[in-house]
Symmetry: C2
Subunit: 342 residues, 2 copies
């Protein structure tokens, strides 16, 4: 179908080697030869077959990124940042989403129909340590996010406990005492929300208070509707916190919606802090105070780590020892925690 190196070589009256040299911009090709080859390329409309090149070189130039949901703006933004970071190294990104389901996460880890990728960046939710230990795919893997694993893979995550403590301290400084925590799946040590809940507990204790576990509400998922339902459940139980710290912005935004519907004023009646700093939080009726992780740094660290490993041993088992990177975060104060006017 396509035009091959051989066709170009034939037309230019040189060997394929020479054409290859021209295509790959190798030095040491006579100007005149180069011109002749280039002309043949143009006339024939030759385009190199990357698949063949990949087969030969053992690399594809493709990185995969798997996140729970693209519909969560945090992950959509992260994906954009990863695509940009990858482009800087001439890599292209294959995107997948797992819905946060263990089976799908395992599939992705195992290189499911993806022997085509050079490396993988995964943001897991339900994946277990054993799934990772049983991994047979040889492409380098970088883990993202709050989950903790004892496995020999690079791991990139902000300090979730410290970030949560910062958020809770802000709420305490404002005079709040009954601070609710809204989040999903924090039962076990290893689960996603665990570290943020721990930050909530630690900071409340550090203030000399006793964490009120009845103010901890488990959401079903990580979306706006989950936050709205959790807030409603809390209020229905007759609890009336003076502040809410949510696992993420989406849950916080859902909670704010419920507060408004119930006639409670965000900030004045109930202060709210989220986590992620998605742009949406800045544009609601009341803008949202939140923890802003450095997404650019996360994307860059993930991609750079992969690229480095790839340069060292193309698709081999972890050569260098696994790294844990800690990108930064900051608290962004907005209207949802405006100081109450007494």
């Amino acid at each position: 179908m396509g035009v091959s190196l051989k066709d170009v070589a034939l037309r230019a009256g040189v060997s394929v080697k020479t054409v290859s040299n021209v295509v790959n911009n190798y030095p040491h090709v006579t100007t005149v030869t180069r011109a002749r080859v280039q002309q043949a390329i143009d006339e024939l409309g030759y385009r190199p077959n990357l698949t063949a090149r990949h087969l030969r070189k053992g690399r594809t130039g493709i990185l995969a990124l798997a996140v729970p949901e693209l519909s969560n703006p945090y992950f959509a933004d992260l994906a954009g940042a990863v695509i940009d970071a990858a482009a800087r190294h001439d890599y292209t990104v294959l995107l997948d989403h797992t819905a946060g389901e263990r089976a799908k996460e395992i599939l992705v880890c195992q290189g499911f129909r993806s022997h085509v990728i050079d490396g993988l960046i995964l943001s897991p939710i339900e994946l277990e340590t054993e799934d990772l230990l049983g991994r047979t795919d040889t492409a380098p893997l970088v883990l993202l996010g709050e989950r903790q694993y004892d496995v020999p893979y690079d791991h990139i995550a902000i300090d979730n406990v410290a970030a949560s403590r910062t958020a809770v301290r802000h709420l305490l400084d404002l005079g709040n005492r009954r601070i609710a925590f809204l989040g999903a799946r924090f039962e076990s040590e290893r689960q996603p929300a665990h570290l943020r809940l721990r930050g909530w507990r630690e900071e409340i204790r550090a203030a000399g208070l006793v964490p009120d576990e009845s103010l901890v509400i488990a959401t079903d998922g990580y979306g706006r509707t989950d936050g709205a339902a959790a807030m409603a459940a809390l209020l229905d139980r007759g609890e009336r916190p003076d502040a809410v710290f949510a696992y993420n912005d989406l849950i916080a935004l859902g909670a704010m919606r419920t507060l408004t519907e119930r006639g409670l004023r965000v900030a004045q009646d109930v202060a709210v802090v989220g986590f992620d700093d998605i742009e949406e939080g800045r544009f609601g009726g009341v803008s949202l105070t939140t923890i802003s992780p450095d997404k650019q740094a996360i994307a860059r660290l993930a991609v750079d780590g992969l690229v480095q490993r790839l340069a060292r041993s193309p698709s081999g088992p972890p050569a260098a020892e696994p790294r844990r990177a800690r990108p930064g975060f900051r608290l962004v104060v907005r209207e949802s925690t405006a100081r109450r006017t007494p």
Copy 2:
């Protein structure tokens, strides 16, 4: 590095052909042979090299999707839907974003470092007809969205004029007469917002009114900040519309933020309608009335079209004649256009 078919064949004491047959689940392999081969595969941990398979078959199993921005929830949701639709056909998705810049869109069209893909789905903003006519890449292409081109490629878009008219009629039915239009790049016939602006004009005329062009505001981009700025500009000019129809939800949400900041009540003072039906619109302080395009259908039509073409002529020039598909849409009425209590 990896284990090849040959290694497995050697171990199982059969030819590579037989191993290939087993791997590909071809019938006509003795149960005993199959078992022996399978055992060798397991022992060696053999994983087929997809790149080699691709080279041989001339197909990669990868579809590319290029959207303007992943940070726009509409496109993030669309990307998710495309990934799911592709998975149903055993295709995987390479994602790229163009920032709506012509140069980047051309690059994507030309198969920029992407001879690895079987087909391309592109949602263009600035791309011109000539860019498309000059396309040399042979991978089938499906165009998405409002832009109109006279080119031999599949095009999938809802009826933007009809959708806009529906939105404006809703506003008129509510008794609004001064309806502003907020959108980007609608100057030329071919530009993205042109059809939606046309719908605004047509419906106002159909109501026996004269479209007031001073209520048409060009935004810089398609985001929340652009909508907020456009609304502010309009109010600063002393105009006080009784309704706003925005090119998309993000612009509408930004406009709503400005209205609130200026002490105007959304719905009671100024009704607002957006376009896209992103989830965020349902959770603001005031939920947003919007046009909801059938994203699932759009994704399905795009992927199915590509897959069909691929089945026919793997990466050849458009064999079948180009199709224009028209997925549906509906108006979703929410609080931002609640009937005014007189």
